[in-house]
């Protein structure tokens, strides 16, 4: 019998609030170290937490999206441990009474099948700061800008059976939280981070001992880490060894994993209710008001895309997955009036370029309005699809503010004027005696293929601006007249 993999995920989602969970300090990413660390964030003596309402609203939105019971009374507790990125010496989090109870998330796999993954609960907590390991005379530097940023930690049941399922689940959560607008989804900035619990067992026997690989911040790293850990566990068990319950670290750049600490060394966190904060209570009306104002979720959006824009299942799923892509797509359709072309551009040229430069669609240098202009000009024959790519590149590089401006300034307008094209065709024919001779002597079936040379010459002479259909028509007429 083969081994079965059992995976559970703990997902940390940074909430896109303006201020921190317990202080009125900005959560903006990328500021100078410790410039967004107030007296409260630094745990200065005598300072006290003041809870922000927005993270609760966001957490409730997530809870409603996964059909979970909302914790009408949630309680913050202190999780005690010492670490330099944790200024108070405890993390304020929720344990016994979380804001979001049990729920479910449906995932779709490559083969089109679906599976329901149970969520154990999701709780609100504060993020820690960051340790910089660059050398400061053998010391580490601590930046507490991130300390206190609100997180929801989503804890799944061990319902995932492969790396593929785990990644599909993680992507689904990404899609959900970005569609809800509660997280910016910027993986490279740590906006979503995954802890993966992995074990293997033979089906029909109890689950094996699990290990936890912490702090994975990309889908790719998560997939690699799971595959590597599953292989390690199977190898260990098949060679008669045992799996130790431990916490592991995966280094995505080096593609290596190592033990961080063994279960026996685990901290005793000494949770207890935080006496600086009282229970947070919401009534039904509060939750109902949030429910009434919920944004469109990915499934509903995919269905609407298929219906409204006649997209294929595949295109609709991809374009509806995250809120930023969906918004870009809909804006693009509005300006281009061509859903299919819009989909092709986003999934083709645009995403290739974004990936290459590690940019997210929100930060795309080419706006939906600009790209819409490119598509429109292709549609109306002003430019060819080849030139369209050139215009897109120019927009990307900031060489103009609109497709029209670039077409104009770079003289990229397609030549469809028959008089001008006939003149070019005459010149090419006059200068290509040998090719004309070959054409005339060729078998009629092979002639259309031989047309390519003449078209190429005209495109070259017109710097690509000649309308290919028009050239074809003119060339056939002129060459056939010479037969």
């Amino acid at each position: 019998m083969t081994w079965e993999t059992v995976i559970g995920l703990e997902v940390h989602v940074q909430l896109a609030t303006k201020s921190k969970l317990f202080s009125a300090t900005s959560t903006a990413f990328g500021s100078e170290p410790n410039t967004q660390a107030s007296a409260i964030d630094l745990a200065m003596p005598g300072t006290l937490p003041v809870a922000n309402e927005e993270p609760f609203r966001y957490a409730i939105m997530f809870g409603l999206a996964i059909g979970a019971e909302i914790g009408k009374e949630s309680v913050f507790e202190r999780k005690n441990y010492f670490y330099p990125d944790l200024p108070k010496g405890y993390q304020t989090t929720q344990l016994a009474k979380p804001i979001v109870g049990a729920g479910e998330v449906e995932i779709t796999l490559e083969d089109g099948s679906t599976k329901s993954i149970r969520i154990h609960h999701a709780h609100l907590e504060e993020d820690a700061g960051k340790s910089m390991h660059e050398d400061f005379h053998g010391m580490s530097g601590i930046d507490l800008n991130r300390a206190g940023t609100p997180l929801i930690e989503i804890v799944s049941e061990p319902d995932l059976r492969s790396a593929e399922e785990a990644v599909a689940f993680a992507k689904k959560l990404h899609s959900l939280v970005t569609s809800l607008g509660i997280c910016d989804g910027e993986m490279s900035q740590g906006s979503m981070r995954f802890d993966v619990n992995i074990s293997v067992h033979k089906p029909g026997t109890p689950f094996g001992t699990r290990t936890e690989t912490k702090n994975l911040n990309s889908f790719k790293f998560m997939e690699e880490a799971i595959e590597m850990e599953v292989d390690r566990q199977i190898e260990e068990l098949e060679s008669g060894g045992v799996i130790d319950q431990e916490t592991r670290l995966y280094d995505g750049d080096k593609r290596t994993a190592k033990t961080m600490r063994k279960k026996a060394d685990e901290n005793d966190y000494r949770y207890f209710p935080c006496p600086d904060l009282l229970p947070v209570v919401f009534d039904d009306a509060y939750v109902d008001a949030i429910k009434a104002a919920m944004p469109e979720l990915p499934e509903a959006r995919a269905a609407r895309f298929k219906e409204e824009y006649q997209l294929s299942d595949y295109d609709a799923d991809i374009l509806s997955a995250d809120a930023a892509t969906s918004a870009y797509f809909e804006q693009l359709v509005k300006t281009s009036n061509d859903a299919k072309q819009s989909a092709n551009w986003i999934m083709g040229e645009l995403s290739a370029k974004l990936n290459a430069e590690e940019k997210s669609i929100k930060d795309s240098p080419v706006t939906a309005e600009q790209l819409g202009g490119v598509i429109s000009r292709t549609q109306d024959g002003t430019i060819s699809s080849k030139i369209a790519k050139q215009v897109f590149e120019a927009l990307w590089d900031g060489k103009g503010t609109s497709a029209d401006e670039i077409i104009e300034s770079q003289g990229l307008k397609q030549v469809s004027d028959t008089g001008a094209l006939e003149k070019m065709a005459d010149e090419v024919i006059a200068n290509s005696a040998k090719q004309v001779e070959n054409y005339r002597n060729a078998d009629p079936d092979k002639r259309p293929k031989m047309l390519g040379y003449f078209v190429g010459q005209i495109m070259k002479a017109s710097k690509g601006q000649a309308n290919p259909q028009a050239i074809n028509k003119i060339l056939i007429e002129k060459l056939n007249a010479l037969l």
Binding site: T17, K18, S19, S23, A24, T25, S26, E32, P33, N34, T35, Q36, A37, S38, A39, I40, L42, M44, V50, A51, N52, E53, E54, F56, E73, N80, F82, P84, S131, M132, H133, F136, G138, M139, S140, G141, I142, D143, L144, K214, N215, T247, L249, M260, R261, N267, D268, R270, F272, P273, P275, L277, L278, P279, V280, V281
Partner: protein, 95 residues
């Protein structure tokens, strides 16, 4: 409460206790635990723990930023800082 238990607690609480003082500390803590063990006699069946004297719910604030950057003032009282970062002996494990 023996010496090894005291050292375990001291590790959790990150407090250095000199070996020569451990037995004295253990004795005093045992005195305190003997006092608090009187609690065990109380009948607390079906009594809800009271974590807080205020029997009310949390007030929440609106999501606004109004804390200015005061790094200079805060780091003026830091034991060791450089380039805006607080310095500590090298942190080995992340997370």
């Amino acid at each position: 409460m023996d010496s090894s238990e005291i050292q375990k607690l001291a590790n959790l609480a990150m407090i250095e206790i000199d070996d020569s003082q451990v037995s004295e500390v253990a004795a005093r803590i045992s005195d305190v635990l003997a006092l608090v063990d009187q609690l065990q006699a109380a009948d607390t069946d079906n009594v809800t723990p009271m974590a807080h004297p205020l029997d009310t719910v949390q007030r929440l604030r609106s999501d606004e930023v109004n804390e200015p950057n005061r790094r200079e003032a805060f780091q003026a009282i830091a034991p060791e800082s450089e380039n805006g970062l607080y310095l500590v002996p090298k942190v080995i494990d992340a997370g």
